[in-house]
Amino acid sequence: MNRLVVWALVAGLSVVVPSVGGSQDGLRLTGSGATFPFPLYSTWFKAYSAKQKGVSVDYQGKGSGAGIQDLLNHTVDFAASDAAMTDEDMAKVAGGVQLLPMTAGEIVLAYNLPGNPKALKLPRDVYLGIFLGKVTKWSDPQLKAANPGVTLPDQDITVVRRADSSGTTFVFTSHLSAISEEWKKGPGAGTTVAWPKSDKFVASPKNDGVTATIKQTPGAIGYIEYSFAKFAKVEMATLQNKAGQFVAAGGDGGPAALASVSMPANLRAWISDPEGPKAYPVATYTWMMFYKENKDPKKAAALRAMVEYCLTDGQKASAAMGYVPLPEPVVAAVRKASASIQ
């Protein structure tokens, strides 16, 4: 396990946010969970800890599943997950759990092709076919038809997927399940799924590992978080959405996708296949989970203040870091719900 941590460190993802300005009698809040919003959360908590004297927040990006486990074991004050939390799991916590969507993100298909063609257009049937192992060549006629004027090599497509269980896989496979019966009945949706058996499907650990493997492998394609793709400067495909339009990640597509889904009362909204001509097809909210009953009222107050900070100053930072800011109605709903953290 230690080696995993070292690998994460070496790959440039520091696992523990250094606590800043934690004074002697300071309050220390600890959280763990999803790695996908980790770059954003660590920026938020660093700024918040610096601003709020006497309170420091530590967040460990261990993975969504590990965060939920930590919350169930009462080893943290809050957790974060890309796959929210099931009713079954929430029922295990005495006093209840408050789910709060904090930010949203897009998942992109990053690729590596000779000549670096920009913003390759991938129709739905094609990217579905690639991940089903049915479209195996970059020179596939469907791909050529969608991208006139782009020279596509007669090269095998190498699919890079996540080796570890991850929220990113959950979001991406949920999308594929939503658009295809065949996928739903085959691999299905989950944090790990049974991928098609092929020697052109390889797996790497974590978002960084997948990104590195794509960059090292000509002819590779894989799903990663937009922010990782943006900072690693890999080429990203524009994907065809439900309305038939090709939309690139990182623009107006994310907010449009969020706007297409109304937030239910339990704040657990899935955007598996958003409507609307401008919506980017693979987007998701990501959540923080809090105990409704905290033993220490001071701690509960600090947690509420932290949520408030994330909803106000925090949202301003998210777009620049490659995340999608929460729509105004969602911010209001989250603010209201955060009052139940007591």
């Binding site: 995993l4 095998d156 944090t191 790990t192 390889v202």
Partner: protein
């Protein structure tokens, strides 16, 4: 000399051990025995604690776990045949490469090919390889070995694709780069232990061989290496054991794909990589089967070591008879 003359005062020559001597002797014995038993207990505890956690998984999946090839958390179907295959295949490949070079290196460094000082320098350099962390090997493999191997692999797959070993093209991570990096990782173990074995053969044996009129190579291959064969074999077993359990570099290089293929260029998976990558986020039911897989890995390692011991004991006996 003086002692022999002083026969009149035997008391000064030998005196009965003091009670302190008795005490120290007994304390040491108890401590040594305790340490040995502690190791046995530790192993038993390890087996017990993994076993109890794996028990539910064993009961549910039985022996079919060892022969099934699908790992599907959503449908609760678990099987580790591809992982067992990948573990053994990658380790055997690594042993073939690393073992050969390790033993050759040991011969080169001990059989007077180099001035003693220079040999010492080389020895230290080889042993330094053991100090490089696994994850660094993994990154090196990802960024150096795979790109370097790709053109060679492409040519082999295109020209000799009819041979099952070259049946697929290299898509990046795969068995061949993983085995090559693994071979380098076990090289220091094999080289160091083989050197010790060769150095333990008395120099007189070699001189005697020269005296019989052998050439240098006859002396090395027909006298020195056979005399040290038990130790060299031990080195290979140790190296194989290390290869079986190696985790991080393999998790990064092998491609983690649950399939069984003879091709050197196709991705595979190993037990250790499966454990490392799936534990952090495993739910309670998955933990049971992962513990079962851990038990299987432990059993494989144990079997390999026991088989090694048995072969060494047999060859030692046969050497004794001769």
């Amino acid at each position: 000399m003086i002692l022999l003359d002083a026969g009149a005062r035997p008391a000064s020559v030998s005196k009965p051990p003091t009670s302190w001597d008795y005490f120290a002797d007994r304390a040491f014995r108890v401590m040594a025995q305790g340490a040995v038993w502690l190791i046995v207990l530790l192993l038993a505890y390890l087996l017990w604690s993994i076993g109890t956690k794996a028990w539910l998984g064993i009961r549910e999946h039985g022996l079919g776990f060892l022969t099934s090839a699908s790992w599907d958390v959503g449908r609760q179907q678990f099987g580790i045949l591809p992982h067992i295959w990948g573990t053994l295949y990658s380790s055997l490949l690594a042993l073939a490469i690393g073992g050969f070079f390790g033993v050759v290196m040991a011969i080169f460094l001990t059989q007077d090919f180099l001035p003693p000082r220079l040999a010492q320098v080389f020895r230290v350099i080889v042993e330094l390889l053991a100090a490089i962390p696994s994850v660094v090997y993994g990154l090196w493999g990802l960024f150096v070995v795979i790109p370097a191997m790709r053109p060679v692999a492409d040519v082999l797959a295109a020209r000799l694709g009819f041979i099952p070993f070259f049946g697929t093209t290299l898509s990046g991570p795969g068995l061949a780069p993983a085995a090559l990096v693994l071979a380098i990782m076990i090289l220091p173990t094999v080289a160091a232990v083989s050197q010790d074995a060769l150095r333990l053969v008395p120099y007189k044996v070699k001189e005697a061989a020269y005296g019989m009129g052998t050439t240098r190579w006859e002396a090395i291959l027909k006298v020195m290496v056979p005399a040290a064969s038990t130790g060299i074999f031990g080195a290979l077993v140790l190296g194989f054991g290390r290869a079986l359990g190696e985790t991080m570099a393999l998790a990064m290089l092998i491609g983690n794909s649950n399939q069984i293929s003879l091709s050197l260029f196709s991705p595979a998976n190993t037990l250790a990589a499966l454990l490392a990558l799936n534990f952090p986020e495993a739910g309670p039911r998955e933990v049971q089967v992962l513990m079962y897989a851990a038990l299987v890995l432990l059993a494989i390692t144990l079997l390999v070591n026991m088989a090694g011991e048995a072969i060494m004991a047999r060859s030692a006996r046969r050497a004794g008879v001769r």
